[in-house]
């Protein structure tokens, strides 16, 4: 029972992380865009998600979507919510990474004749990625911890198992603390 939940936790965190990174990079690029509309849409997205708790977003999407007629499995809903939530934080991280690259790089590549996309792809993003890597690792740790909240929507992940066992005997909740603690050790290494 624990093993299945463990695997579930890792899968959902992993998949959400993957999509959140994509969302984050796109969002980061949008936030530095000169186009007012794109910039504002991205800003509104990031600010609204960062100002509301994950649990509220969970309730909103999990209870609200079926009301609109869209029904997903708990797995997919969980991925959607985690992706949207963490994507906002990753957007900020990516944006700060891109802005940390000195202007000379931009000037140099433009003077060579690269267009915006080539410059981003070959010069800016690789450097930004290296700068933001520590922050990204920290954020993925947060993602794994946040995935525990998904137990609320009955997804069989670690916390849910803990809940379930808790109704019969409480001690295993501690064994579960050790498990979560072990992940943090991984990140400290």
């Amino acid at each position: 029972m624990f093993k299945e939940a463990f695997v579930n936790t890792f899968t959902i965190s992993g998949v959400s992380l993957f999509f959140a990174l994509i969302v984050g990079v796109i969002g980061g690029l949008c936030k530095i865009s000169k186009n007012k509309i794109i910039h504002n849409i991205a800003s509104i997205y990031v600010n609204s998600i960062r100002s509301t708790p994950l649990l509220t977003q969970l309730y909103l999407i999990f209870f609200g979507l079926p009301h609109l007629g869209i029904k997903f499995s708990t797995f997919v809903t969980g991925i959607i919510i985690l992706t949207l939530n963490e994507g906002a934080y990753i957007t900020e991280i990516v944006r700060s990474g891109i802005q940390a690259i000195s202007k000379e790089q931009v000037d140099a590549s433009l003077s060579i004749g690269m267009n915006y996309y080539t410059m981003m792809r070959l010069i800016i993003l690789p450097q930004a990625f290296i700068i933001i890597l520590p922050a990204l690792v920290g954020q993925s740790a947060v993602l794994i911890l946040d995935s525990c909240l998904l137990s609320v929507i009955a997804y069989t992940e670690l916390t849910r198992v803990g809940d379930f066992i808790a109704s019969t005997s409480f001690a295993p909740n501690e064994g579960y603390l050790t498990v979560a603690f072990l992940y943090s050790i991984i990140y400290y290494i």
Binding site: L55, G162, I185
Partner: protein
């Protein structure tokens, strides 16, 4: 017109829930900062045991989800004879959880002060305590205040998780309203989100303003 009815019925309850949320955030926030400063100083202590205990504390509270911490504090501790009610557990856990993050921030702030300051202070004959009080802390505080405001925002959002233990904060009120009335969940939860937004967004503004103010003083040195 249905939506206006929903608004009229639910907003009073949501306001009460927000008050609880704000109250919880304030108290745990203040405690978290206090615990965090102490924890951060302990982390830099020269006494091994103190350093070790504070490291352990920070690792535990940062490495586990808030929900698990709440569950353990509320459900597991009674087996060891320590019983708290929902208010005590949430304030306590939120304070210790936030305190762990603040400790790391304080530690990073202290470490950001160049070693030369420490050496100069010690060579002047200051005791370590005096050094901390007069030289290091005033400079470190300038560095650590913006991230601490960020942590406080996270704390406000953390209060929402306490709804799963039974505290009637904004989230729980929203959820009960939806369950009790079967009205449009989308509208009600959007209202909840809006209320949280109204609470947190000004904090973000506040933090950028503080950053600007602090940076001005830094430059004038």
């Amino acid at each position: 017109m249905k939506i206006i009815e929903i608004l009229k019925d639910t907003i009073p309850f949501l306001l009460k829930g927000s008050v609880i949320t704000i109250y919880l955030s304030l108290i745990s926030g203040i405690l978290a900062v206090i615990i965090g400063v102490i924890g951060g100083l302990c982390r830099k202590s020269r006494i091994f045991i103190i350093r070790w205990i504070s490291s352990l504390y920070i690792r535990i509270f940062r490495g586990t989800p808030l929900l698990i911490q709440l569950y353990v504090a509320y459900f597991v501790l009674p087996f060891f004879g320590i019983t708290f009610n929902v208010w005590q557990t949430s304030i306590g856990v939120l304070a210790f959880n936030g305190g762990a993050y603040v400790s790391e921030i304080v530690r990073a702030g202290i470490e950001a002060i160049p070693k030369e300051q420490t050496e100069a202070a010690l060579s002047l004959g200051m005791t370590p305590f005096l050094k901390m009080r007069l030289i290091i802390m005033p400079q470190a505080i300038r560095i650590i205040i913006p991230p601490i405001v960020g942590t406080l925002i996270l704390l406000v959002k953390g209060t929402s998780v306490t709804s799963l233990i039974g505290i009637f904060n904004l989230d729980k009120v929203g959820r009960e309203l939806v369950v009790a009335s079967f009205k449009n969940p989308l509208v009600i939860f959007s209202l909840v989100a809006l209320f949280y937004f109204l609470i947190c967004y000004p904090l973000y503004f506040f933090s950028t303003r503080i950053e600007k103010k602090l940076r001005l003083h830094y430059n004038s040195l």
